[in-house]
Symmetry: C2
Subunit: 683 residues, 2 copies
């Protein structure tokens, strides 16, 4: 399909260099590959490994989507292994002030002791179907960017609905290559999920935020659940067997998970928008949230318990975003992106037909970035509710928006959906006050800001809102939801009033974003992707979309600041690191780990790294060897891996895994969990 | 049709008295009769006057709807006569700071001098059709009150649409007897209307607000326009000839006009609501507006010119409402209303079948009053915009609401519709500041109030809003209207923001009113009216609905505080009154009237009274004798007539007319308007 019209070009030396890039395949082991687009020939040629459909199907069906992240079946009786930080929400939900499972850990010695996790759903991908023609067929000539987007969304919704009804599965259409390809994903959903094992947070998140996104690491970042069906443990049709041979440097390994999003097909102007507008705002906002949460957590152990989950999320996002941005601040990386884009654009411009079809795409995307920048603060603070950081506002907004949608009579109201298990008003006040302060700083002259604050400080306003709202009362929420628009519009609850008052502006920026940014990016993103296809064929992988992907790489250390970093760490290293840090939080060790040290084989590896391509959402992904055996669970990337959001790199960028051997050693010797180990090892 | 089941009742003396009332016909000459329900037999029997269809058709087709009030054709070349205060808006629109036609008066000596009145429409009723069965047929068993209302409204809209398309006329379905009867009214509309004559305000509104709603009076409250078609004076197919014989006490006269609304079929609880909730609020609000307008008008002649039209309206409404309320504060009147209602309810209760069908109606209406009272202030201040008394808010709200309605692409935006000819920001600030003060006093704890005022005084808030808004710029309005919801929602104009912010509460009270008050009143009002039919037949007239009605009565003086008030006043009385008041405003006389006094026949009558049933909206109605000849134009009622809103009374209640003879004498001797007089008298 390479229609690249070489002969028409006046070739200069610079151009020649650029064009050489065009002829190269995707870089090395790059790729978060959809299961139906795995580069089998590449693997066969480079690694002498012929991937079979059976091998792929087995790994796919043993892979699990856990919230926005990843997991896998690891026993025939429905055990599911993921990261501790992926299972964290479920574990936190089972905790109270008296029984803090995050802190103490948990192990169900018998099946009766396994704890049901309300609201936790696990998804398993059953089938993928190409529906590209159906979706793109909805587009008619002469449609505006917004109409194209609407037509595609309508087609996708129709396909999903029909497929869901026909199959009884949860069906989602996934847009690949910026809307150049559409695949229908069909999921089986499991809703009875029970907690089997969780280590103490001190070992699961050893090193805490300072060591997050770093390597070498020593974390037992795992949690184990069991899926039930009809109140019986699930007979899992596909599960991963434990590795049968030692893991060595240079081994080829595969990772199967749900990477959230990458931006490798973004245009240069989109990257500039992220670097100059989006990320600076986001990073500053996360930093202030981090500081506020730290202050709150420092008030006492109960406050620490309340804040920790949120703090974890904020620090994780802060470090990730800072890391992504470091790539964009890297002049070499940006120069490379620009050169790539210029090469494509020049090649397109040189062919009148291609120029006519694709030539304007980059410029239109660039214009959309300028437009977005003009209302980005309003978009983030209002529509994305960055100015109203409290669960009460989320509740109020969902009630307000629920009432605006016409609901057929008798349809269930959605009051209390996604309601957190516990709400602490003092915590909510602290968060809201800080976000109102942000609003005051960012948009001081906006009418809404003046209304919200009036003569009050952000803290006073937050106190009045939180202490005045009756949304904590489930009966009140139920009544409101049942009363429809009239009840909402007449309601004098201050939080509902606030949500109503900010709705016009929120709606305005949402619509403006949809029409002048999203629609333009979708339409022209498709054109850019098609232009790249014309020039490079389909050898490049699509960006991540939060759906199941296969990636691969080698188990391999790397050199940092002239120092060799080994491919794996051991239990001995864990104790050494804790000692170096004087066992001070976040490097303190659970009591049990101190007591059982003598029993442990300290040479057993606990973490390892590989050149596997991954990104946020891959947390909990099973990593397997050529035989498809479980060798570890991905839980992080090193700091150098973060810029791979935009450009893949395999010299120093690494994914970080919990080692299968470390899991077994800990379960046996620290947690006395022989029955669990027997089940995992199939004994 | 009198199915009154006498024999089933246990008759007590009290009941007997009540039931006697039930057997009485409607009181004396009461009645604002639809043209197709005129009580011909009553007139024949009582006055030996047989009304023919020709007589009725001629009077109907010579009657004109002028804005919300009345007028008539008075020459074959399309002259239309109405009150000065009815034509006032049109005259004001033709005025400027340099040429104040309200103050100086106007007379077009030639047709070329006649002044086009943009926006003025005159309606003439061509036909009435009974569509009761069509409307009531839309109601299905088991419908809720709200569904019944919606079904009827839908049926009415359909009928109007079809009839308009078929006839090319403006068609409106009118609900009579609280929704027991529905008639379709078809109007021909004239849009080229030109000012021919207006006297000076000093004589048109001699006595001003103090003398408004009083008698004896001496006002030349007339203005004369001419209708054009195709730029030619209309050849009026029906017009009223001038009276051919003197008007005497005891003469039977008829009045043909568009009375706005009466409340004679309201239940006792509805009257209590008006007395205790609605009128006290309304009167207090009008009083404060009056004071503010007076203060503004006193600042100088230009301010007086700007404020006067508004002030006139406010004072007129204030006096009317106070008068209506005086009836409700009259214990005798209320006792009579209660007795009437109890008689009906007892009669209904005594028959199990009637009780089942109608028995609950009064109680349900009573409940709706309680409900209404619970949000009445919010309804008036927000939905009826009593808190935002400025044209800018009206503009902002219509833009906001226009954007919320889906408009087909390409449909004309409504920016600038109903835009006043001149807006004066200092005047707008004064009005808005006062209404914000009202809001502050009435609903100080409401969130919206706090947002609007913040740390400002009402005056500061009003200044900020009026000086900040760009709605005075037609280009800005046009752009906003064209931009739809997105432009409105993103707009940072303070007045648009305000209109958006108050919209949820406004919408809430509007919906609550529609559902829990209006729908309940409509459904049960129909039941009450039907119950009265069952007991009394159709001898009682329906309440006024702003549509063409015929009423009648006798030219007749009355006794007030033991003093006989004569049936007419003369020009001599006018000069005497002015003298008594030392010619001080509002009893000053135009210079021309002082100069021409010697030329006038001072015995010529200027105003007269009759027992004609009338109410606001009848202003400008032609009053005719048995021959259908024009004898005068109704322009007021005496103060005792105001309670007839709820109960008709003919002992001291009077309608007040400008006398045909006074008009001719003034036109000839004061205004030198012989050509006009010749046209009026058909010479």
């Amino acid at each position: 399909m390479n229609k690249f019209p070489l002969k028409q070009l006046k070739i200069s030396l610079t151009l020649l260099v650029l064009f050489l890039w065009l002829l190269l395949p995707a870089a090395a082991d790059e790729g978060l590959w959809p299961y139906n687009l795995v580069p089998k020939d590449y693997l066969a040629k480079k690694y002498k490994f012929r991937v079979t459909d059976d091998w792929l199907n087995h790994l796919r069906l043993a892979s699990v989507r856990f919230g926005g992240a990843s997991a896998s079946f690891v026993s025939p009786d429905g055990l599911v292994l993921t990261n501790h930080h992926v299972g964290r929400g479920a574990i936190q939900n089972l905790s109270t002030a008296e029984r803090n499972l995050i802190k103490t850990g948990f192990y169900a010695r018998t099946r009766q002791e396994e704890l049901k996790c309300p609201g936790t759903q696990l998804w398993v991908l059953q089938e993928i179907e190409d529906v590209t023609n159906l979706v793109l067929g909805a587009e008619k000539p002469g449609m505006s960017a917004q109409e194209v987007l609407a037509a595609r969304q309508k087609a996708m919704a129709d396909i999903q609905k029909e497929a869901s009804e026909k199959s009884g599965l949860r069906c989602q259409v996934v847009s690949l290559y910026s809307g150049s390809m559409y695949h229908l994903y069909k999921y089986k959903i499991y809703t009875d999920v029970r907690l089997v094992f969780a280590p103490e947070e001190d070992i699961a998140f050893f090193g805490g935020d300072p060591d997050n996104f770093t390597y070498p690491r020593y974390d037992l970042d795992i949690s184990i659940f069991r899926v039930y069906e009809n109140d019986q443990p699930l007979k899992a049709p596909h599960y991963l067997k434990w590795k049968s041979s030692p893991l060595k440097e240079g081994d080829l390994v595969f990772c199967s998970g749900n990477p959230g999003s990458t931006g490798r097909m973004l245009t240069y102007d989109q990257l500039l928008f992220l670097r100059d507008v989006n990320y600076p705002f986001t990073i500053a906002n996360l930093k202030r949230r981090q500081a506020v949460l730290h202050e709150y957590a420092s008030r006492g152990p109960e406050q620490e318990r309340i804040a920790l989950n949120t703090l974890f999320g904020v620090e994780n996002r802060l470090k990730a975003t800072t890391g992504y941005n470091s790539g964009l601040l890297d002049e070499n990386l940006m120069a490379k992106k620009l050169a790539e884009e210029q090469a494509i654009r020049k090649a397109i411009a040189a062919d009148p037909e291609l120029a006519k079809e694709y030539g304007q795409a980059w410029e239109e995307i660039a214009q959309a970035q300028k437009e977005y920048a003009s209302f980005f603060k309003e978009y983030m603070l209002f529509e994305r509710a960055n100015a109203f950081n409290t669960v009460y506002f989320n509740l109020a907004r969902s009630l307000v928006r629920g009432a605006q949608r016409e609901r057929p009579a008798g349809a269930p109201a959605m009051a209390g959906r996604r309601m957190p298990a516990e709400i602490h008003d003092d915590f909510e006040i602290v968060k809201l006050a800080d976000s109102l302060q942000l609003l005051k700083e960012q948009l001081p002259n906006l009418q809404e800001t003046k209304w919200i604050l009036g003569c009050q400080t952000p803290e006073e306003a937050a106190k009045a809102l939180i202490s005045g709202t009756r949304l904590k009362d489930p009966e009140f929420r139920k009544k409101l939801a049942a009363g429809g628009a009239e009840a909402i519009n007449m309601c004098n609850d201050p939080m509902i009033k606030l949500a109503l008052m900010v709705e016009p502006l929120s709606q305005g920026v949402r619509e403006r974003y949809a029409k002048r940014v999203q629609a333009v990016e979708t339409k022209n993103g498709t054109l850019v992707a098609r232009a790249i296809f014309k020039l490079k064929g389909t050898s490049i992988p699509p960006d991540a979309t939060g759906t199941l992907r296969l990636s691969f790489g080698l188990v391999k250390g790397y050199v940092e600041n002239g120092q060799k970093i080994p491919f794996q760490t051991t239990l001995a290293g864990l104790y050494k690191k804790a000692q170096e840090k004087n066992f001070q939080s976040p490097w303190s060790l659970p009591k049990r780990w101190l007591q059982r040290k003598p029993a442990l084989n300290l040479k057993v590896p606990i973490n390892f790294v590989a050149t596997i391509d991954s990104i946020g959402g891959n947390s909990g992904s099973p990593v397997v060897n050529r035989k498809g055996e479980f060798v570890g669970a991905l839980f992080d990337g090193n700091i150098q891996s973060l810029p791979t959001r935009f450009v893949y790199e395999e010299k120093i960028s690494r994914s970080v895994m919990v080692h299968a051997d470390g899991i077994i050693e800990a379960l046996l010797k620290v947690y006395d969990a022989r029955p669990l180990v027997d089940e995992l090892l199939g004994r």
